[in-house]
Amino acid sequence: MITFIQGVLLTLLAAITIAIVRQRNLFGVVILAGIYSFLIASVMMVLDAVDVAMTEASVGAGISTVVLLAALHLTGSREYPPAHAALLPLFVSAVTAGALIWGTAELPKFGVSHAPIHQNTAPKYIEDAAQHKMPPNMVTGVLADYRGYDTLGETTVIFTGGIGVMLIMRGRRRKSKGSDAKSKSRERSA
């Protein structure tokens, strides 16, 4: 049953991708890209990766749609046909896709327990978590303690990104509205 659902969803994904490439109206492209995100999120869900699916749905279908629509206001919604045939990009894409598919042939089968990723450190984490006085939740122990530096790095990246977005938004508003609107917004916040 799961294989059947997966097959239907992946077929729809391929159809949507071809439609995105052939579509000349950029507004339609944004809508189709949102549909693509919802479908790929469903595929992730069927594969049991609910957290990845959640991220894909919020970033791909939610925020990307909003940001792309805001960009459409600046660019206009018509894409002009290319002046020449895109043979070289097609060739590069085909070669890259071939290399990637060739690379997956060596990978272990999906979900098998004797894959290399389950052999090295994971059993050690599970055995030693109690001895090392880790937090009672093993996942928390791995994320916050065994891989503490990794998590710290990720958090720093997200923090920096957030600060960057806040700085850009603040500077933009001050320039476009002027001092009158600024005092008005100050009243509203007070």
Binding site: I5, L12, G28, I31, L32, I35, L39, S42, S58, H73
Partner: protein, 92 residues
């Protein structure tokens, strides 16, 4: 029973996606995109029951909220042609 529901949702998904691809107008695509979002939520809920994990319903609720944000952005773009449009600014 859940299998029948899943198949029905998948058929509806195929119909909605084909409408989004065929067009012909942008409004068809917007409606089809909205239905695909709703059907993805339904598929998530049914899949949870199919695999014996009804806890997925919480995630389905979060998806509903995301769907509303996207639809609101699209509608505001239709109405004003600009997402940063300020209603108070136009009044004298």
């Amino acid at each position: 029973m859940f299998i029948v529901a899943t198949v029905a949702v998948l058929i509806a998904l195929v119909l909605a996606v084909s409408r989004a691809i065929l067009g012909p107008s942008v409004f068809d695509r917007v409606l089809a995109g909205n239905s695909v979002g709703t059907l993805a939520i339904l598929l998530l809920a049914v899949l949870g029951f199919l695999t014996g994990r009804p806890e997925w319903l919480d995630i389905a609720l979060t998806y509903c909220l995301l769907n509303i944000i996207g639809t609101l952005a699209v509608l505001k773009y239709f109405r004003y042609g600009d997402l940063a449009y300020d209603d108070e600014k136009e009044q004298p």
